[in-house]
């Protein structure tokens, strides 16, 4: 456990040692603002909730999370520190978990920094703060799922740009699977079981339920399985591709 913390601290520190972290946070805050107020019609809806804020998170994460996850392992491989890290007496799983947690907490920090929007909605009306909290939890869990995918694909290459693009593509598949357009295309010919299975794979389906304030065990399990599964895959990919 302490080793996880050591790797976690180093990784989180390295985020803030480059301007990338600050650029990411500023971009995230600006974009959430733009999406909420302009595209989401925050004022026009005349409702005291944060639905227009959370609704765009999957699309925002689609491009911002890969930028965080791309360096996780690709950089270690490129600079040769992978060899250093994996010849220290630390299990591979510990290293994978420590680095993932650092990236996850980092996105958590970015998410927490959107608190002015919560203050705003509380100033303007009387929202259900339980629902908002659920939305934040759901959003953070979803970020974890995106990051775990990114972690695995970052482990597959030493080129951060390739890691970024691959992650966007795979994440897009997982988001789009729940998009009405895609589901309708399936509905016309496939049985309901298949449509449900496809929708069930999607971030959108599970995130929407959570962000409405419904903390269903199955949705939480979905995100947990996504994280654990992709992190497990990360370890396998690293193990397989060590030699090159």
């Amino acid at each position: 456990m302490t080793q996880v913390m050591v790797i976690f601290r180093r990784e989180l520190g390295s985020y803030f040692s480059t301007p990338l972290a600050y650029v990411f946070i500023v971009m995230f805050l600006i974009l959430t603002g733009v999406f909420t107020f302009y595209l989401g019609g925050f004022y026009e809806r005349r409702q005291a909730d944060l639905t227009p804020f959370f609704m765009f998170h999957p699309w925002l994460y689609l491009f911002l999370i890969p930028a965080v996850s791309m360096r996780l392992w690709a950089e270690e491989r490129k600079s040769g520190t992978l060899e250093l890290l994996l010849t220290l007496p630390v299990p591979l799983k510990t290293a994978v978990l420590g680095k993932f947690l650092a990236a996850w907490v980092f996105t958590g920090v970015a998410l927490v920094l959107t608190f002015p929007i919560w203050l705003t909605v509380n100033y303007l009306g009387e929202p259900d703060n339980g629902v908002i909290l659920a939305g934040y939890i759901g959003s953070w869990l979803m970020a974890g799922g995106f990051l775990a995918i990114g972690s695995c694909l970052s482990a597959a290459t030493s080129n951060q740009v390739i890691a970024f693009i691959l992650t966007v593509v795979v994440c897009f598949v997982f988001v789009a699977a729940g998009f009405p357009l895609v589901l309708e295309a399936f509905q016309s010919w496939a049985p309901a079981v298949v449509v449900d299975a496809v929708a069930g794979l999607s971030f959108l389906t599970h995130f929407e339920a959570v962000s409405r304030g419904v903390l269903d065990f199955r949705d939480l399990l979905y995100f947990l399985i996504m994280c654990v599964g992709w992190l497990y895959a990360t370890a396998i990919v690293i193990d397989m591709k060590k030699a090159d």
Binding site: S17, T81, L84, K242
Partner: protein, 317 residues
């Protein structure tokens, strides 16, 4: 004690390491020699548990590197090729990170201080590693490897990119460490082997070609006990004739850059009194001598002989 048994590693169809068997005991400083691509680094990567062997077994003080990986890795200090380090950290932060991973606890501060002094990193201790020169980076890598006072120290080209003073320093450091430890150094600088190693292993094409002490290897050289003599103003042809007629001389080489410098190669091992014979000849002929000495043998000559012979054989096969 390290035991390596029939170690193999295949990349695709290519055998990078093809059946290496070695035993190394504490106190030994083993020099791993070989041309580029001989399988030195691959062997070291398997020894440190970074990549898995395709076959064979590695045991460090009773711990198998595969089944007991963590405990085996605790014994090892390793400097990977190119001395990688986290560039955004300072040497102090980096060493603290390594110490924390190794769970060094109370010894930590003292040991970090020790290695920083030992490798003279004081001036750069708080500068990001990315901004350091190659020599400093290499020393940070060595500092990291010796931080926990490991029983087994594995250094992949530790003096690459260092200036002569720093090279000397690192060699002194290795010699200072060696008493009860196993040190394995890979290099293609032959003088390094003579300078620090108690045992030299030459590998090429993934196989061990020679395993002996550096002086034993030197004895295999055709220059072993050869006598080199430099004369002042002489007649090359005439001198050559006289020197060649000496008993026990197999061949006389004339130095290409210095025409009055001759190397007499003995035709058998027993002719260690060649020096006396040449001395006698000098007196008889009244030559004026600049320099005369007996060679111990040339390691680079042995190295070339062994490694090129092997590739030639490989080409035919």
């Amino acid at each position: 004690m390290i035991t390596i048994e029939n170690l193999k590693k295949a990349f695709g169809g290519f055998m990078a390491v093809d059946g290496i068997t070695l035993n190394v005991s504490p106190g030994e400083v083993l020099g791993f020699l070989g041309p580029n691509g001989a399988g030195k680094s691959t062997t070291m990567k398997m020894l440190t548990g970074f990549i898995k062997p395709s076959g064979g077994q590695i045991c460090l003080f009773g711990f198998d590197i595969l089944s007991d990986a963590i405990r085996a890795k605790e014994l090892i200090g390793y400097l990977p090729e190119g001395a990688p380090a986290y560039g955004d950290m300072t040497p102090v932060q980096f060493l603290t990170f390594v110490a924390d991973i190794r769970g060094m606890g109370v010894r930590k501060a003292q040991r970090i201080n020790d290695v920083i002094c030992r490798l003279e990193l004081n001036n750069v201790a708080n500068r990001p590693i990315d901004t350091l020169s190659k020599g400093y980076k290499r020393r940070v890598g060595i500092a990291q490897a010796i931080l926990h006072d490991p029983k087994v120290l594995i250094l992949d080209e530790p003096t690459d990119g260092l200036d002569p003073n720093q090279k000397h320093q690192v060699r002194e450091l290795i010699r200072g460490l060696a008493k009860d430890k196993i040190v394995i150094v890979s290099t293609h600088i032959l003088e390094e082997v003579t300078a620090v190693c108690t045992r030299a292993v030459i590998i090429a094409n993934g196989r061990v070609l020679a395993d002996a002490t550096p002086s034993e290897l030197e004895n295999r050289s055709r220059y072993h006990h050869a006598v080199t003599v430099s004369l002042k103003d002489d007649d090359t042809d005439k001198t050559l004739k006289v020197l060649k007629s000496l008993t026990g001389v197999k061949e006389v080489e004339v130095s290409p850059d210095h025409s009055a410098r001759y190397t007499l190669i003995p035709n058998s091992e027993q002719s260690s009194d060649l020096l006396a014979a040449v001395n006698k000849l000098v007196q008889e002929n009244g030559w004026v001598v600049d320099e005369i000495f007996m060679e111990r043998g040339r390691l680079d000559d042995v190295f070339r002989q062994l490694t090129t012979q092997n590739t030639r054989r490989g080409e035919i096969a």
